[in-house]
Symmetry: C2
């Protein structure tokens, strides 16, 4: 009988692992269990589905269970894995449709249980009308609520990526929107001076942003009516609760897998866990950070896809490694594109670097071209050595893919001078003759 | 008396050199002679000025002679340098306004005479209504002709960067436009399969493109009436003649400076020529190509600016080096963005590389986002070693700055696998979760 690989979790990491395992090994049996009703979906599109830019949730599906079945991958949605017995090589699974439970044996296991929204114990958090956003069912429920309940006042709790993107979605539905954030800035993994531009654009679009407001309670009888934060009561017919994501490690802990310093599952460069027959990938796992040289927890779809492929290759008998990340991420807030890579200045100091930074404002294209807009570039580097540690950018166009040049420089381990020497493209419609990245690198090199 | 630096040519290279020299050394005397009426202009904006997107030629001026004067840089426009005596350290200069000639001594000379449009001996090339495009006067003359003469038929000779961009400008003026190109493809420094997309977009906008048509004659009495090319006669009330640029080396040759294998002035990494007191930079000079390791002639504004700064630093007693280029360039043709870096597949073979390539078509953003458009990525690499040699891209958005990532990879000397390992940014509005660069690099790495 052929070997059986079981994948727990059908998100980006799980389905990448399954698909890659099949390509590497056509003999092995591959089974995927997914708790939600969907696999292989583009979660980063949820805010745009909720906003209405994307008509159907199906549009976000990359590949259906039927398409996976044609590849010889058995996908079971609405199946929750309750327990892993790592010694026996079995799982206990519940079919959420029928309620039936059964046992499933495996030879090799890929754990891709993902992340789960943090839910601190706040009174009233379970009221109707309060949503977290993680799976397609969440996105559907939020859009349905917006359409059916026609909420007039919305409160977003948390100013991270999901929070700021959901502000745009709520405003598009005509909801008077308040965003409350416990910290003194939005986007905590950016520096405060960069995040200030995001605050500006939200305010420009009539979002009431309240920094340093910690949520104390949600009020309402059957459904939410208000949010109490920082001593103020904000009316709310809808709440998006997005205060962060934690790795969903319940099964990993129960299987006695080693967790790393971040609390996520520790993996090596083959995505192997501490158990010889169990691999992990995606938002449940740590990732090696190439700038700090340490493990990090940075749950993102790009990394999940790459780790999934590596796990899938190795679990199927192939050989692949994942070198790590430099912490590149992008977000869009109304017309503003914001992106970062490497370490923020604060992160660099927290990691013990003697960090300094430069920030420049340039034009995103030639100054004489119609429609040009300001672009802000911040570079973080080590004092003395001028080794590049990170970059952050804010602008209207050409931000994310410009940050990629800085990301490449971090992979290469370059100094600011080496970055400044790059032969970058120029056309008046897409850049000034001195690309803003080069301008910043030149200033940093002085 | 303080040392006198004379800069011959007030384009990007010359004015960068002058400005940098002043910053490095506040004691030295700096004099610039420029033949045209303008210095420090954005020549890449000419097609958009002619088209009408940019209202005034002044909008293209980065800094005026008066602004340079305030920095202590004496700029003489409409002054042609007729002769260099390198041994005596003098120049013969003609004031084109008064016709007066005079001699000017120099201690150090920076030669930035730029490039000049090729003008092969074709009958009728001097007829009125036939334009080359190099200096602001050319751009003004073309726009004036378009407005005053209201030409109905235009012929563009040459399918390089200027030719394809001028097609957009002529079409915007309602001119029925024919583009004739001697070679079997447009954009000769791109591969034919990539250039084919440019042909498509021109045809889509009703430009009559005639490949493998060599111009035999221009017809007309006082002014151009037709172009004879490939045996066919095309009516023409305006002709843009853009068959390439050659280094303007007349003065360099006359000063006995060494020319390199490309025919441009040979320079070292300090922009020094073969004469100890003469530097050269910009379109008159060669440039070191980091992929081939050989000198190349690639006249572009980005390089002119960088070389000018290095020449300016060194001529003023500072110390700077220019490492070289990887051949990055971008062009826009109607809605299409096209960019390239490194070597095309044909160039790679010409340089003796055992080159192969992959081409992928991907989406420029997540497949579910409205407005997504196809992006074509071609990577050229060495067989066996998989060392990256070049990249070319065509699409509607995010092309030029994506090519910059490949440019960085060329600077780093990476293989396709190293490129595939990059942690690039992802947001559904600006990229698919697997960036097209990574998809191409993954396919190339198989």
């Amino acid at each position: 009988m052929s070997e059986r690989i079981v994948v727990v979790g059908g998100g980006a990491a799980g389905m990448s692992a399954a698909a890659k395992a099949r390509r590497v090994n056509s003999d092995v049996e591959i089974v995927v269990y997914e708790k939600s009703g969907y696999v292989s979906y583009g979660a980063c599109g949820f805010p745009y589905f909720i906003k209405g830019d994307i008509p159907r949730i199906d549009n976000l599906i990359v590949r259906t269970p039927e398409a996976f079945a044609r590849q010889g991958i058995q996908v079971f949605t609405r199946h929750e894995v309750l327990e892993v017995d790592a010694d026996a090589g079995t799982l206990r699974v519940r079919d959420l449709r029928s309620g039936e439970e059964f046992s499933q044996s495996w030879d090799k296991l890929v754990l891709t249980t993902g992340g789960q929204p943090s839910r601190p114990p706040i009174p009233g958090l379970d009221l109707a009308g309060i949503f977290t956003l993680r799976v397609p069912e969440d996105a559907l429920a939020i859009r349905r609520w917006l359409v059916e309940e026609q909420p007039r006042h919305g409160v977003i709790v948390g100013g991270g990526y999901i929070g700021v993107e959901m502000a745009e979605a709520l405003v598009a539905h005509g909801v008077q929107t308040t965003l409350v954030e416990m910290l003194p800035q939005l986007l905590p993994n950016m520096d405060a001076d960069v995040a200030a531009h995001v605050l500006d654009v939200l305010v420009r679009h009539d979002v009431d942003v309240r920094l340093e407001h910690r949520v104390e309670a949600f009020e309402g009888a059957d459904r939410v009516r208000a949010v109490v934060a920082g001593g103020t009561t904000f009316p709310a017919d809808i709440v998006i609760f997005s205060v962060g994501v934690r790795p969903a490690t319940t099964l990993a802990v129960q299987a006695d897998l080693e967790l790393g310093p971040t609390g996520a599952v520790a993996v090596d460069d083959h995505q192997r866990t501490s158990h010889p027959a169990i691999w992990a990938a995606g938002d449940v796992a740590e990732v090696h950070h190439l700038v700090t040289g340490k493990p990090a927890y940075i749950p993102l779809g790009t990394t999940a896809n790459k780790q999934g492929r590596v796990a899938g290759t190795n679990v199927a008998g192939g050989e692949a490694t994942f070198k790590g990340v430099v912490g590149t991420a992008a977000v869009k807030v109304f017309e503003l594109e914001v992106a970062r890579t490497g370490l923020s200045e604060r992160e660099a100091r927290e990691h013990g670097f003697d960090a300094e930074s430069v920030t420049i404002e340039a034009s995103d294209r030639a100054h004489y071209m119609p429609g040009h807009a300001p672009l802000h570039v911040k570079l973080v580097f080590e004092r003395g050595s001028k080794r590049l540690l990170g970059g952050q950018m804010v602008g209207v166009t050409g931000v994310a893919k410009r940050v990629d040049v800085v990301a490449a420089a971090l992979h290469a381990g370059w100094t600011t001078e080496e970055l400044a020497a790059l032969d970058l493209s120029y056309h008046p419609a897409v850049a000034p003759v001195w690309d803003p990245v080069l301008v910043a690198a030149n200033v940093a090199s002085r």
